[in-house]
Amino acid sequence: MVPITTIHYLVVAAALFVLGVVGVLTRRNVVIVLMSIELILNAVNLNLVAFSRMWGNLYGQAFAIFIVVDAAAEAAVGLGILIAFFRNKETINVDEIDLLKW
């Protein structure tokens, strides 16, 4: 069998990224859209750690830790916005969140 190279990990990361993009673009449930964004960030992390292994230093892994920290902050704030909006209008459907529409 062909040995597992960096390209294999990059293809897996690209597949996860595209699945996250599909989730953001097509789902109507806001919570699932937010979870798809987390999937996108994970795909980027996998990319970084694969390159870090390829080059032999740890810069990619340190960057990946920062991305995890940022994803945690972003998830907390995004879910806070969702709860505040849900208190205003009882829906979690992205099609019905159109108060700013002209």
């Binding site: 040995p3 597992i4 190279t5 390209i7 294999h8 990990y9 990059l10 293809v11 897996v12 690209a14 597949a15 996860l16 595209v18 699945l19 996250g20 993009v21 599909v22 989730g23 673009l25 789902r27 109507r28 449930n29 919570v31 699932i32 979870m35 798809s36 987390e38 999937l39 994970n42 992390n45 996998l46 750690v49 292994r53 390829m54 032999g56 740890l58 892994q61 340190a62 990946a64 830790i65 920062f66 995890v68 920290v69 940022d70 945690a72 902050a73 998830a75 907390a76 879910l79 806070g80 916005i81 969702l82 709860i83 505040a84 849900f86 009882e90 829906t91 979690i92 459907n93 992205v94």
Partner: protein
Amino acid sequence: MNPIMNPAINPGAAPVATPFFFYLLSGVAIISALLMITRRNAVHSALALILTLLSVAGLYLMLYAPFVAGVQIIVYGGGIMVLFLFVIMLVNIERVTRERQFNRMWPVGLLASCALLALFLGAFEKGKSLLPDRLMQIPEASNTQGIAVLLYGDAGRMGPYTFAFEIASLLLLVAILGAVIMTKKKI
């Protein structure tokens, strides 16, 4: 076989059932990501995402990154996904599971995502010759120690990521304040 991949010369390249675990973990990751974006029930999606995160943590272990794998499991699986599950239970409306799950422009979104995937695979095909063929030796210091040197500095000097580390803690403080203020009933 490439002489660099010969375990007699390069002990870091000894195959330890690597392809089996790689295909197993990446297959589980991609299938559970597919499950996540298609489930009707949001709790099922959250559980599928937890499975994806755990298999990606396994892939980090295969890439000789145990610290990032630990951070992934503890912070993502044990923190962020628990937060998501709490919020799903807070905004749980029964009628959402009976409505249409995908918006009306889903073919356009799918087509755009296929174009993006084709772009990625094209970039990999063209840039394949740029990636070095050698496998790096596993460094002597432990992985956690190496990341600690990057984040905290070494022997009294600042590391390359020390300033970013302090800014990240400030970012977390701002996120906590924002989340608390936004969810209060009266500010």
